[in-house]
């Protein structure tokens, strides 16, 4: 087996009295899509923010590329990128300008060429001069993903990337993500509370509930371990036990 690119051990985050993430351990392997599944408030976003070094863990270890995130964040983050449907590109800039800013920020080589490639890959070349704020949510998502690939990352963290998309565009986006993963051998951590999406996208999933991992493995394994016929039923069972 390959060495994991991301290795998380005993990761915990306490906000005041709330344990948002509770001793979570997992690894992400090269070229793998790991799905982080769980109801609202399960702690998915908090885990992603800790992996980015934007939220400081209460305790636990994060290693990326074998380096300690606390000590080597800049080196690590240069090869990681992130996209969330709740974060946007500068909305008063054009599509192309906003990508130019991020290309420079990450010191991308052959900036013009790289931007052109991404514009084409995400089918937004035709709207490159449009202002970000005038884009549809599908176009915004594709721009966010283009930004997330601008530095040719080895690890991609995607927080509900398809949340605001209609089913057709969401499906196209997933297809695109899978092909990117295949072409570039990127490791992807992917959050969603959409079960079907998870089954379709992930090589492996982690089922998170109230900050804890309650199941993990290939989607079919998780479904089987709960004695259900699909992930959606597992999800409903977990969510309802709480009530």
């Amino acid at each position: 087996m390959f060495e994991p690119v991301v290795k998380v051990k005993g990761l915990t985050k306490v906000f005041k009295s709330l344990k948002a993430v509770d001793s979570v351990s997992f690894s992400i392997f090269p070229g793998e899509i790991l799905g982080l599944l769980g109801p609202n408030g399960a702690g998915k976003t908090t885990i992603i923010h800790m992996l980015l070094g934007l939220t400081t863990p209460t305790s636990g270890d994060i290693q990326v590329f074998g380096l300690d995130l606390r000590k080597r964040r800049k080196e690590i983050i240069q090869n990681v990128n992130f996209s969330s449907s709740y974060v946007s590109m500068p909305n008063s800039l054009s599509v192309k300008e906003s990508l130019k800013v991020f290309a420079r920020l990450y010191k991308t080589k052959n900036r013009e060429k790289r931007i052109q490639e991404l514009l084409e890959a995400f089918e937004i070349a035709g709207i490159k001069d449009k202002l970000v704020r005038h884009l549809s949510s599908g176009q915004q998502t594709r721009l966010n993903l283009a930004k997330a690939l601008i530095n040719d990352p080895k690890v991609l963290l995607l927080d509900e990337p398809t949340a605001s998309l209609d089913p057709d565009i969401a499906d196209k986006t997933r297809t695109l993500l899978r092909s990117i993963k295949k072409d570039r051998n990127i490791s992807i951590l992917y959050t969603s509370h959409n079960m079907r999406e998870m089954e379709q996208m992930s090589d492996r999933i982690i089922f998170l509930h109230k900050g804890q991992i309650i199941a993990e493995g290939q989607p079919e394994e998780v479904v089987r371990s709960f004695g259900r016929s699909n992930l959606e039923e597992v999800f409903l069972k977990v969510a309802r036990e709480e009530a």
Binding site: L54, T55, I77, N91, S92
Partner: protein, 263 residues
């Protein structure tokens, strides 16, 4: 500290201004109004106080210099808000960009903004009131530098507070600078202030600049001691502001607020 990251941020803000007519107009609008209203009041008053030397110079000079401080402050705090409003802050800080690089880039943006505004104001003052800001002489350069640095300091503190307290603190992006106006002795000497405000004024770098400006206009003597005070205080304050920002940034990351700002 990497130049390419500072340049990226700087570029982001320059694109913003190039793209936005309202923002461009705003850069000129307020200073122009200030200059018109206060300038004409000054001209009017001067008709009755002809024996007061350099009256017009005091006022219009003070107005332009105050605006430099204010723009320097705003150049940081409002640019930061632009990133908050654009929901772009997380994308920036998810990159290798450091808080210090971010602040440096905003300092650069603020300098470009205030140089633009000050140039426009100086030219207008010359056209409308035949007022020549360079009358102040060589002391003008250290005056301006000190006002810029004090503006940065206020901008950095404002930014830290908005990061920490969110939307409720946004008004500080404009307001905090004005808080220092009464004790900066912009239009009147420190001596007219009540005692306790005089004491405060003494520790405000800008008050020394404006006192110095009046000194140089009325006596022509280079206000060395005022400049020393102003620069000394500024160096201490801006370093303190940087430390405050860094400490605050860590608190914000611990409380998980960085990712919530603008929500």
């Amino acid at each position: 500290m990497r130049f390419h990251r500072i340049a990226a941020l700087f570029m982001r803000h320059m694109y913003l201004y190039r793209r936005s007519l309202p923002r461009l107009i705003e850069v000129v609008y307020w200073p122009l109004l200030d200059l018109l209203v206060w300038g004409f009041i000054t001209v009017y008053l001067a008709q009755y106080r002809q024996n007061l030397p350099g009256f017009v110079t005091f006022f219009i000079g003070a107005l332009i210099l105050w605006d430099i401080l204010f723009r320097s402050h705003q150049g940081i705090s409002v640019s930061f808000l632009e990133d908050v409003w654009a929901k772009n802050l997380l994308n920036l800080f998810a990159s290798p960009l450091s808080p210090a690089e971010y602040i440096f880039a905003l300092m650069l943006v603020s300098v470009v903004k205030l140089v633009t505004v000050a140039t426009i104001m100086a030219v207008l003052a010359w056209i409308i009131y035949s007022f020549n800001i360079f009358l102040i002489g060589v002391a003008l350069v250290p005056f301006v530098l000190n006002l810029i640095v004090m503006g940065w300091t206020i901008g950095i503190i404002t930014t830290a507070l908005i990061l920490r307290f969110g939307q409720e603190a946004e008004v500080l992006a404009w307001a905090l600078g004005f808080l220092f106006m009464p004790v900066s002795a912009v239009f009147y000497p420190v001596s007219v202030l009540p005692r306790f405000l005089q004491t405060i004024a003494h520790y405000v770098p800008a008050s020394h600049v404006f006192e110095g400006m009046r000194e140089v206009i009325s006596s022509g003597v280079f206000p060395l001691s005022q400049l020393m005070w102003s620069s000394g205080l500024n160096v201490i304050y801006i370093m303190a502001a940087f430390l405050f920002f860094r400490w605050n940034f860590n608190v914000v990351k611990r409380k998980g607020l960085l990712v919530r700002i603008g929500e």
